[in-house]
Amino acid sequence: MTRDEIRATVLRVLGEVAPEADLASLKPDIGLREQLDVDSMDLLNFVIGLHNALNVEIPETDYPKLATLDGCVEYLMAVRGAAR
């Protein structure tokens, strides 16, 4: 998957977790929690959604790396690259 495809997947999963969120105005380098008012349940659903969409296992210790949209894309690129 390309970076753009991973980014699109992240946004799609985010949209499923927080359907009311205005993802078009999401700032990629600002924390998702601050911008989307998501909680720990949303975060867990987000991780499960990424797992289902990309077949990646994200340990809890890596959750901080998913704090921003840019962080998510970087992390998932690295994880998928390492998995190949």
Binding site: S40, M41, I48
Partner: protein
Amino acid sequence: MPILGADMSAGTLVAWRKNPGDGVKRGDIIATVETDKGLIDVEIFVSGVIEEVLVQPGATVPTGTVLAIIREEVLAPAPAIAVGAPPPAAVPAFRPPAPAAPPPAPAVPGRLRISPLAKKLAAELEVDPATVRGTGPGGAITREDIERAARPQPAAAEPQRPTVEIDRQTRMRQTIGAAMARSKREIPHYYLSTTIDMQRALAWLTEENGRRPVADRLLYGVLLMKAVALALREVPELNAVWVGDRVVPSAAIHVGVAISLRGGGVVAPALHDADRQSLGDLMRNFRDLVQRARAGGLRSSELSDPTITVTSLGEQGVETVFGIIYPPQVAIVGFGKLVERPWSAEGRIVSRPLVTATLSADHRVTDGHRGGLFLAAVDRLLQEPGRL
């Protein structure tokens, strides 16, 4: 229209999920209603046949309004019915719908139509059956009629509702405000707090989640809910609801969990029998509950059954929660933010993740001594997370 919380005075029937003539059994969803808390699926608590629907989709009616008449599958004929009255017809398990529901029988002194169960319940709850309007077959007074009569009556609906459409958020704030004002006005609250060392619980959780597939991971909050549920076994007075002017202890522990809604507002539906569920089951059910609370689809029993409420505002940065009891419950437990602080342990000052747990309780039901024992039990249980 079921009362789905002390802050609800009316609801709008959105759709019938069953039709006249349909057989229904306890637990079936028969209708969807809209309240300020969203779309709620209304369950039925008897088995029988829907005889007639009395409220049409789109209608907004006060709580307590009879929505439909259901002929119960089994209704033991009360001896009183036979006195001077024509013998009741045998009630088949299922029967075709009658062309029209029989009107409630007029009250005749000394000839109340009431089932033995309802009569016994009326005596227990100190309800005068003569003042109760029966909704059972032939106007018979049912157990539900007695329970309804024993509940605190909601304020009468405005005779003329404002025609201006008030947005949902405004209505939700108004209803929450009314319930909380009533709580603070009527319930003599007392407040206790304790600080709990969460190191063992968090270490256990990290290890446990490391073993679980991602979809089965546990949230920290589930440990708190389970600890509260188990602590209630030790101090059961806190697990109760007011029915009329009596406190009725609940044998079952149904923990209401406060869930914030998108765009504002809060609901606190029940995790039924929380003390008896494994952490994995509790997590699955909690996740399902949050999803349905936010997307619509809570069941009426989930809103009417909580016997205590747990609220956590730690993720919002709050350190201490001073909860307001949600009537008719008698207690609410709050958890704040996990903070890393100096802590004295085994003769040394160490850094530990700490959480402040609070209890707001009804002084008419318990006192600080019992409340303190409850918080101590929560603390003790969280020190042995593997046994939760």
